[in-house]
């Protein structure tokens, strides 16, 4: 009983601390979770953790939340998953709630406005950097379809005002169909040989 309580508390406190102290999103926090749960606590095997990370990155939603659900469930079932989700979600919830309290009072202040305007240029640059990096990966595949999909999606969302969720559904289905077709071909070739 005591040991179980300790496990629950450690699950919660570990994810809480990682979530509160990690800047830079899912791809930064996942390696830190691996460090904590595989190396320090030894609760998950290295190989198992890699599987969990692969699943977390394949699912919709924030990768940090997905990974924490899987870790919690793996260690202590549904109760564990609930605790790790709470641990991951609470820090941003508390921090942004606190900032929101000041936001309305402070936003019209001239100095704050100047700083926010400066940082907006910074955010624009950060996103531009992300798009350039991701875009180069897409072009680097040296296949025709990905760039065409990229261009059409951009026009669809930006120019033709197509619903963004529709674009995601269509492209996801196209990706699934392509994979299944390739897999089918692979099987047939295998049968012939």
């Amino acid at each position: 009983m005591n040991r179980e309580k300790g496990v629950y508390w450690k699950l919660f406190s570990s994810t809480f601390r990682l979530s509160a102290g990690t800047f830079g999103g899912g791809f930064v926090i996942v390696p830190l979770m691996r460090e904590r749960f595989v190396k320090e606590l030894g609760w998950i095997e290295e190989r198992e953790m890699l599987d969990l990370i692969a699943i977390a990155e394949s699912c919709p939603g924030a990768i940090a939340v997905n990974a924490s659900i899987l870790v919690g469930y793996h260690v202590a079932g549904c109760a564990g998953a609930l605790l790790t989700v709470l641990g991951t979600v609470l820090p941003p919830l508390v921090i942004i709630s606190a900032i929101s309290c000041f936001y309305s009072a402070v936003r019209d202040n001239a100095l704050v406005n100047m700083a926010m305007n400066g940082m907006l240029a910074g955010v624009a640059a950060v996103i531009c950097d992300v798009v350039l990096t991701m875009g180069r990966e897409v072009l680097g595949e040296k296949r025709l379809m990905p760039p065409v999909i990229m261009l059409l999606s951009f026009l669809a969302v930006r120019v033709w005002n197509v619903n963004i969720i529709l674009v995601i559904l269509v492209c996801g289905l196209a990706g699934a169909a392509g994979t299944l077709r390739r897999a089918g071909k692979g099987v047939r070739r295998h049968d012939l040989s």
Partner: protein
């Protein structure tokens, strides 16, 4: 009623933001500006700025911010729950399938098909933010008369720092905030 709307909006954001990190941004913009009049473009840009400088996933940060503005703390809790709910179900379901059949081939195929579209949508949302920074409005104006040269200069510096010197985003944000304040005070 407002709680149901918050729940459903952020449920959709959680469900369709595939590919991590910035994939949620265009969906948030769509839901809280276009579908619902919850934030102005400037407020959306503000929460993206704040999210960049605080820990935690962008979607959770946005859910809390929008929820509080629309319906106080309960609103923040409902929006955050909506955001996490799809992941809870899908992650555990996929984990089950994964251990049963060993392999994520189809899922990987879906992701591969989505990646170019996700890049395009992030680019579109990024363009809105850039236009806001340069011209104070979300679409590019016909003539470039009202351009904010301080913003353009900061953007160029920040991009150079990120691309050439691999600077950390949080450092870029802090420096551009400080330089921006200084520049606006001087000019």
């Amino acid at each position: 009623m407002i709680f149901l709307e918050l729940l459903w909006s952020f449920f959709q954001i959680g469900l369709f933001s595939i590919g991590g990190g910035y994939a949620a941004m265009p969906l948030i913009q769509h839901q809280v500006i276009e579908v619902h009049p919850w934030l102005t473009m400037t407020q959306f840009a503000d929460i993206m700025t704040i999210a960049e400088m605080t820990p935690g996933p962008i979607a959770i940060n946005a859910a809390t911010f929008v929820g509080i503005r629309v319906a106080g703390l309960p609103g923040a809790l409902v929006a955050t729950a909506g955001c996490v709910l799809p992941a809870c179900v899908i992650v555990l379901a996929l984990a089950y399938l994964y251990y049963r059949y060993r392999g994520l081939t189809t899922v990987k195929g879906i992701l591969a098909g989505l990646r170019p579209a996700v890049v395009a949508m992030i680019a579109s949302a990024g363009l809105s933010l850039t236009a806001l920074a340069f011209f104070g409005q979300k679409s590019l104006p016909a003539d470039l008369g009202g351009v904010n040269w301080v913003s353009v200069g900061l953007f160029a510096l920040a991009l150079a720092a990120l691309r050439l010197f691999r600077a950390k985003p949080i450092h870029v944000m802090l420096v551009s905030g400080a330089l921006g304040t200084l520049a606006y005070l001087l000019f």
